[in-house]
Symmetry: C2
Subunit: 205 residues, 2 copies
């Protein structure tokens, strides 16, 4: 039998068609987000936020901000995955549980705080890159978590970031990076699109 993770990677499709009649319980929406947050982040900053859009009213607002894409209405839920600009002020809180668990030396907290402060200061592009990277990692783990739950996913980058920020009251440091529709697929989705031969995108040195 094929390894289940490899099977998931090879069978995943970017779903466009969802069964609009099937919803997800709030507990499952929360569980998928919990698993998404197991993705790694630099310095364990966890500089992300997830907005799960699942009521008809909220879906209508998100759909309008996503150029009318029907899957926002039809999927059970669409997560707005936001990245946040790194802030050294949160490092101590983010790392305290690792110190309390006994594996992280307490003196590293100060060092990591300084590393975040020094590493991102006065560099808005680096701050933004980190926000995009973090949110994208969260979205990828969310997609795997959904697949583990037998659900289809449809990632979207076609949306108006300013409209999403306005409609869902994002904070000034939050960037909406990707939308991920999650739900039960209906018939008719495309298969996974063929990829380039790996030799075209891999160099070994």
């Amino acid at each position: 039998m094929k390894n289940p993770i490899i099977a998931a990677i090879e069978s995943r499709v970017s779903a466009n068609l969802f069964d609009a009649g099937r919803t997800l319980a709030d507990e499952e929406i929360e569980e998928l987000a919990r698993l998404a947050t197991r993705a790694p982040t630099a310095y364990n900053l966890q500089n992300w936020r997830f907005i799960a859009v699942r009521t008809p009213e909220a879906k209508a607002r998100l759909r309008a901000a996503a150029y009318g894409q029907a899957k926002v209405s039809e999927a059970a839920v669409t997560y707005i995955v936001c990245g946040r600009k790194p802030s050294h002020t949160v490092v101590e809180e983010r790392l305290r549980p690792s110190v309390e668990a006994g594996f992280m030396p307490a003196e590293m907290v100060g060092a990591w705080t300084a590393a975040v402060e020094d590493g991102y200061r006065d560099d808005p592009q680096k701050q933004r890159d980190e926000a995009v990277r973090t949110a994208t990692l969260g979205a990828a783990f969310l997609m795997f978590a959904a697949q583990a739950h037998g659900l289809a996913t449809g990632p979207m980058v076609g949306f108006d970031p300013a409209a999403v920020a306005r409609e869902f009251a994002l904070a000034a440091d939050e960037i909406p990076v990707v939308l991920v529709a999650v739900g039960h697929a209906r018939e008719g989705n495309w298969p996974q699109k063929p990829r380039l031969p790996v030799s075209r995108v891999l160099e070994t040195v």
Copy 2:
């Protein structure tokens, strides 16, 4: 028994300590990259490139560009995952196999080409965001693929992008987004660092 994907998510650690005595065959290095490229990309652009660094000489150059991090030397291989700025000129080639496979209508190729051209033109930040997003998705799928192969992974953002670009002759449109060390873990890695309660990062609307 727990779902294997969920088990992988919950058991993954960001490995720092690798068994320097164990290598990977080039076939396995290539297979992991092949699985990584099954990640989704906007318009199936596949705007990424992977450089697998696995010889002592190349590792030494990458380690120097990564502030001396030992895992670059000790892991069997470290992938430099690069994102590329989107280009409408590649859309036809990227989509032709989907048309030939019979599920994508031929007339959509022109529409998607125009969408890429119009969507990213004159917007360097949007181009860069797409490059970072694509490479990060590839890196996330690479991490899952490695886990499926029983391997540990150590993602790194601590490196000098200009030095990496210079040492590994990146093209002008390529951005080194993340390094992923892959190999056999040795004893002593930290467990997964505790995360915030999901209620702190999830809003349901």
